[in-house]
Amino acid sequence: MSIVQILFWVLAVMALFSALMVITSKNPVYSVLWLIVTFFAISGHYILLNAQFLAVVNIIVYAGAIMVLFLFVIMLMNARQEGASGSKRWVTLAGTVSGGIFLLVLVAALKDSELKTRSAMVMDGQVGLIKVLGNELFTRYVIPFEISSILFLSAMVGAVVIGKKD
């Protein structure tokens, strides 16, 4: 096995294991911490695909900012060890059923897709480098890019409006 393959398997096992721990941990704080591990594993995959910018931004935005807010809320609410779903059985049941259906849809969608015939460009592709990515974003995709930035701005304004007391 080459180093890339070894790295891939280590990262894949890490990502899947930590993702499983996110949903099986009793303590919500542990769930959040495992989710951070998952993000790091996924960033590792991005680096293997030579998508360096995506890898770093994934860590800055998700692991560094969004998960901090998650941790904030959980620590401040002081959520107890037993989750809310343990108290009502039908919630558990509904969750299992909808999760199962989602899995079914995913498998059905990916089974015959063309993804199977394509292999990832490991350590090779240039698309993930910041120069190439910036050029693409600000030339070919400049209108979707700007529109999504307006979307973010409106979401921000909305959050401020909701957050204001009076």
Partner: protein
Amino acid sequence: MNQYLIAMDSWYILEKLILIGALIGLSFFIAMYTTLAERKIAGWMQDRMGPNRAGPFGIFQPLADGGKLFFKEEITPTSSNRFLFLLGPALAMIVALITSTVIPWGASYVGETRTVALQVADVDMGILIVFGIVSVGVYGIMIGGWASNNKFSLLAAIRGASQMVSYELPMGLSLIAVLFMTGSLKMSAMVEYQMQHGWNVLYQPLGFLIFFVCALAECNRTPFDLPEAENELNFGYHQEYSSMKLGFYLFAEYINMFVSSAVMATLFFGGYDIPFFDETAWQGSALVLSALTFAVMMAKVSFFLFLFIWIRWTIPRFRYDQLMNLGWKKLIPLALINMLISAALLLFLNK
């Protein structure tokens, strides 16, 4: 497909391992002596002697402090979360140490057979990696504060985390104006740009000021040391810690200071560039040049460390709402305006 990782020869790996070891040693050494410098300068500013018992001028004081911390009784509160209680200081330390890998510490040594860069990893993402690691640095404080199972620790941890998240934004925005000029995220390329075009601080004084204020906040230094406000929070997020775990938290703060000084020197003050001197015109041995540039870098870092300490013993602590107002209502708009003006000027001058 996989030549990239295999192609590293064993000398390369050895070289990098030695560099990493040297960097960790350097970080610890500088952090140790920053604690002494802090106390000496505080003494000087307050017209007293400062520590002067251990060795001449107290130069063994950091060793004595470290030894004291090591041999103190280690107490883990019974109601704390044991694993996370340990993870907190460990994470703070690891994160503090990682950042130094992408900083160029001196001009590469160009030998007959091989070139040795005084930088562990000259990656394409350079400065963004620093930001990524800094943004993860919050967890050391948050996990430690929460795992202590103490209201004061938790409050301090939450304060610290919200402060760091808030000040990351203006920090990043002030950096963008610098990136406009250098046109690269690579740390070595940024230093080379400044060697040719003059230091960034000349063109971005406001950007540097914002960056410096944010660096103070990110390192939890006065006037932003709210997470350690002892008159409001007893002792801060590390209240329940004792022995070397506490030592790791305190030490990580000094290493953070050291690394952020190095980042500021690299981004705004030309990194290892020797002022008023053209490195390419150097005639003597390459080893001497590398050593000289490293010494210049260290001098710049020491200057910033002195600035950190100076501010600590001069300015009182902010109130919490003042801190948030400064971050969100003053620094972010200022950084945005700075960014816009720089962009407009650059466009105008290029046309």
